[in-house]
């Protein structure tokens, strides 16, 4: 069973549209949804959780159609962390725990208290006085304290310092040690996704540009550095994006279309994404 299965979903919101989005998150894996601000990551997450209805297409979460009445029960198995905590700012961690105890059937107060201690979060401090790191940790404590099978994280690490980000990424890694648990994490911090994810999906202007295993991605693409004339000799379709400098050209290429005589570097995820966006602008 796939944790998330999105089939040909489209949704128009004014000038912006998610177009024909198809994406699969296999159970037990971590998929990073990457894209620039406004690429459609949050809209995709809202569509997955039925907080927004698509114009067409279908979405299944943990094997259940998200438009069916049974999806209400599935929400018990999904932990959500959004870009902000979204709890009313006067609440404190103790009150959030009391509210969540009446929200989730499997709410584990002991686990919640454990996370609060682990994260060093005060019980009675009003939430508005939290730092951003504390706010996100509280949201993560809530998301993890009702035995979820799927975590959906929308920009959960953005705005955090590298130390807190690393600590949070470690918690997410721990979560997927249970093979029935999966994560969909959206971020524009590519390095976080590179560190954490098994699969990467790249969303650009509402369209999915690719979705594949992280390692396969690096096997598929490569970076070449050569002269402009040497680059022009490559077969059609081999070059996906270029960056010119006084010293020559750097280009993202499809490895299998490049002759063995031309040295190809292994690209970082950030290279792939930046070159693909540039390639689109150049086209």
């Amino acid at each position: 069973m796939d944790a998330i299965e999105i089939k040909n979903v489209s949704k128009r919101l004014g000038d912006f549209a998610i177009q024909d989005l198809s994406l699969v998150l296999p159970q037990g894996s971590i998929c990073g949804l990457v894209g620039e601000n406004g690429a459609g990551k949050t809209t995709a997450i809202r569509l997955i959780m039925d907080a927004l209805r698509p114009d067409s297409g279908e979405i299944r979460v943990l094997g259940v159609d998200n438009r069916s009445p049974e999806f209400h029960q599935v929400k018990e198995d999904v932990g959500i962390v959004l870009d902000e905590a979204h709890f009313p700012e006067t609440l404190n961690a103790r009150q959030v725990g009391l509210i969540m105890a009446d929200t989730y059937q499997r709410w584990d107060a002991a686990a919640y208290d454990g996370f609060l201690k682990r994260f060093g979060l005060p019980l009675k401090k009003a939430f508005k006085d939290y730092s951003r790191g504390m706010t996100m940790k509280l949201a993560i404590a809530v998301a993890l304290s009702h035995s979820p099978k799927l975590l959906i994280l929308d920009e959960a690490t953005s705005g955090l310092d590298p130390i807190v980000r690393d600590e949070i990424l470690e918690i997410f890694s721990e979560f997927t040690r249970d093979e029935s648990c999966s994560i969909l994490i959206s971020s524009h911090i590519v390095s976080d996704l590179e560190k954490l994810c098994d699969y990467i999906a790249f969303l650009h202007r509402g369209r999915l540009r690719f979705s594949m295993e992280k390692d396969a991605l690096r096997d598929e693409y490569g970076i070449v550095a050569c002269s402009k004339s040497r680059l022009s000799e490559l077969p059609e379709g081999a070059v996906l994006g270029t960056e010119e400098s006084p010293y020559g050209v750097r280009a993202l290429v499809k490895r299998r279309l490049v002759p063995a005589s031309l040295p190809v570097e292994r690209p970082s995820l950030e290279d792939i994404i930046l070159f693909l966006v540039k390639g689109e602008k150049q086209a």
């Binding site: 809202r46 907080a51 929400k75 009313p88 006067t90 609440l91 969540m100 929200t103």
Partner: protein, 205 residues
């Protein structure tokens, strides 16, 4: 629904201590206009809770949590009913206790229509709040209050003038005692499904 109600109560108790104290003081003053004031303010508490929800973007998170549309909508109605009910009970108690020692100008029989006016007001404005949000909803609420106050005062003045002894006719009093509660119940019954539809429309579009 219990979770959502709990959240609103935590938020209101924390944010509006002075305001709630004022409502309690108005509720215990044994004068009809003070009681009406307390009840109207209590009827507005769900909108205050909705404003805090909007400010913290709580609705975005709640839409992804295991709350039904019915949970979200009913929690606001129940909050309003509880607040209006508490203000009425407080008024009734203070009226009764003060009545043991002094003469008050508020009859206990008048409290039921006052309370129902609070419910009625919520029934009329709640669907608009769910559809257009608190800011636009409040504008409508203020217009409604002005209309009710001016229209009500005009109606009462007209009836008193037309009465033989300068008093409100008995048929009018009967309408206030029976008609307002019935009207309030009927409008509330229509308002809840309408709010539910408005909430879904607002949430999904």
């Amino acid at each position: 629904m219990k979770a959502l109600l709990k959240k609103d109560i935590f938020v209101l108790l924390r944010q509006m201590r002075m305001f709630l104290l004022m409502i309690a003081i108005f509720a215990v003053i044994p004068r009809g206009n003070m009681t009406v004031f307390a009840i109207v303010y209590c009827g507005m508490l769900p909108y205050t809770a909705m404003a805090y929800d909007e400010r913290s973007k709580w609705d975005d998170l709640a839409a992804m949590m295991p709350y039904t549309a019915s949970d979200v909508v009913m929690s606001k109605y129940v909050l309003g009913w509880l607040a209006v009910g508490c203000a009425t009970v407080l008024s009734a108690l203070s009226n009764f206790l003060l009545g043991l020692f002094v003469t008050t100008d508020l009859s206990s029989a008048a409290l039921l229509p006052y309370m129902c006016m609070g419910f009625l007001m919520m029934a009329v404005t709640m669907p608009i709040m769910f559809r257009f949000g608190v800011e636009k909803g409040r504008m409508f609420f203020i217009l409604l209050m002005v209309f009710v106050a001016v229209g009500g005062a005009g109606l009462v003045a007209g009836l008193v003038d037309s009465g033989e002894s300068g008093e409100i006719p008995k048929t009018m009093l009967a309408f206030v005692q029976v008609g307002i509660p019935v009207l309030s119940a009927a409008l509330t019954a229509a308002s809840i499904p309408l709010s539910m539809a408005m909430y879904k429309k607002h949430r999904y579009h």
